[in-house]
Symmetry: C2
Subunit: 344 residues, 2 copies
DNA sequence: CCGGTGCCTGCAAAGGTTTGCAGCGAAGTT
DNA sequence: AACTTCGCTGCAAACCTTTGCAGGCACCGG
């Protein structure tokens, strides 16, 4: 069928092992022989068969990348960065979409295990115990989840949620709704934990709405609930939900930011393009993708690495947040200057 | 290391070939034996090594999927659909991002060739000759490009561009700008061809601006050029450019659709969420992804299939298009009824 | 001239699986 | 009773590489 090491050996008059060494250990072969072999290989268009190589070396030069939903705009930048970084190291990437289903996650990891050097699981929905078990079957790096003993890169959404809620209380909001994310999401729990604590510290009331699917629709459908709860500000699990929510609020007759302030999380490209432009917590997705790949590739080198990499997040204030009914902080342009405002 | 067919054979007291047959040709093995083998396999957690299998059968159960830019919102729905369809047939998907670079396309196809059953190239940027050559090295299906002898699924953007331009001339626009896409894009040429012809038939003048990178920025930066050309309507190569253009127009003091009408192509999710909502030509991306995978998988079965599948497109009229300075068609609500309007 | 050293190359096993062929026992045929 | 047929299983080669080991050769020092 295609050209093998054998053909090259025949063409250049050497043994197949010499051809093999020409590619995998060039310093072991005579420069003269080497160049002849390379010339023949070039001419025949020889490419080593990685599957055959993997069979004996155990290294596949492939990586598995598992995400909950490729169509969720949060993931593509991460996938792109990971793919680019992987290819820089001569690795290829399998991408699998689990449709937010933990059972599919497990199945896919197992199915991929034999043909990759490791798997990257982004925002997993399965429980920690299962992840720990899987990490015994194949090197794993997890994005957006912290588990002792499992290498991970996490975006510091707790910090982000804190900044977001502080922003809202500073603007004078005292009744805040939190649109939580999908069941099983570590990120969602982190946000909730941090937002709750921050709200309490800011003397605001925070009510949780959810769990919801992390999509536009997930936000759209709960607009009524948010209004009924009397919230004047909302922190959403992600930008997509925030944008959907804004649509829903408009339909219900509420205006953003005049009646309700909305903050998202992720800073997907979309958020700069909607009107009003979304105030949101920017997460470094591309950096996370790169870092996760690096971590996975380093994984094999030394002993089982177990590092947790934390990436900072940042509040980006745009047009979807405005003053609330309560006292505003001094810094706020149109606000009333009230001493004893919320500390930052 | 991991559990092999050998371990299962030992555990169940049969020869490895019997184990192999239990999985790949169950009807050849005694039901009693079979169930015993299956039980052992289950207990040991055996999974066939696909690389080893591929070595001998030549089928890898992998597919390569090559796109110009994962972060371009046009692609994720296609990738998602392709991945889902592939996994339905027990195949896994390699995804590669070429950054719009034809050289990378070639390199990636070659690198992937040995470890996939076929490659799907979406909106390729390389020239036809190269594609033809590559298709001799590995089964290929091309999306959004027509080449004789190469199986393809194409969205009928020519039809879409015609509908779009007719829509604009019907609204009374007589000076239309076309933002063309990246160099090497078949789609861009098709659009240009069809738009030019349709404009001529509608007695409108069409000026081409470009080529441009197919991104938000690609549209943003040419806003001035569009205004300088005196265009009252624009058809953009894709939605992303259209949205960027609208931003640019606003910055330059022109309003959409009051001063300039804008039509995009693709109907990405984003287009429903911007304000004004974008009038655009909807392309069936998910269907294309599914169809392309099906075509690739069918490819091997019979002789070299060479079918070209055409998918219909559809004009979705939203809020970014309005009346132009010329006479409007009767159907237009606020328009002036002028006989002799453009035929559809 | 001999032993030693070092560079390069060939040999063959190994990795996990599939598959054509042959063998075996039991059942069926004549 | 001999022979065929059939269903099932084992054997071994093959797929393409990598790699430890050993052999060949030239060169060096003594």
């Amino acid at each position: 069928m295609s050209v093998t090491i054998r053909d090259v050996a025949r063409a250049s008059g050497v043994h197949i092992s010499t051809v093999s060494r020409t590619f995998s250990a060039p310093h072991l072969v005579n420069p003269h022989t080497r160049s002849r072999v390379l010339a023949c290989a070039e001419e025949l268009g020889y490419r080593p068969n990685r599957a055959a190589r993997a069979l004996i070396t155990g290294r596949t030069y492939n990586i598995g990348l598992i995400v909950a939903d490729i169509a969720n705009p949060f993931f593509p930048p991460l996938i792109k960065a990971a793919e680019s970084q992987a290819r820089k190291h001569d690795h290829h990437i399998f991408v699998a979409d689990t449709n937010e289903d933990p059972a599919v996650e497990e199945e896919v990891v197992r199915a991929l295990a034999k043909q990759v050097d490791g798997v990257l699981i982004c925002s997993p929905r399965m429980n920690n115990a299962l992840i720990e078990q899987l990490s015994r079957e194949v090197p794993l790096v997890v994005v957006n989840r912290q588990i002792a003993g499992i290498p991970a890169v996490v975006m510091d959404v707790a910090q982000g949620a804190r900044l977001a809620v502080e922003h809202l209380t500073t603007l004078g909001h005292r009744t805040i709704a939190l649109l939580s994310g999908p069941r099983g999401s570590w990120t969602s729990r982190e946000i909730r934990r941090s937002a709750t604590a921050t709200a309490r510290a800011g003397h605001a009331e925070l009510t949780v709405v959810g769990p919801n699917p992390p999509t536009e629709l997930g936000g759209l459908t709960v607009a009524e609930d948010v209004l009924r709860a009397g919230a004047t500000a909302v922190l959403a699990y992600n930008d997509l939900m925030a944008i959907g929510l804004i649509e829903g609020l408009f339909s219900a007759g509420a205006r953003v930011p005049e009646d309700v302030s909305v903050v998202g999380i992720d800073d997907i490209m979309l958020s700069r393009l909607t009107r009003p432009k979304l105030t949101t917590v920017a997460t470094p997705t591309a950096a996370a993708g790169r870092a996760a790949v690096d971590m996975l590739l380093a994984h094999g080198d030394d002993r089982r690495s177990t590092a947790h990499l934390h990436l900072q997040t940042e509040l980006v204030i745009r047009d979807s947040t405005g003053n609330g009914p309560g006292p505003h902080s001094p810094a706020d342009p149109g606000g009333v200057n009230v001493p004893g405002g919320v500390a930052s």
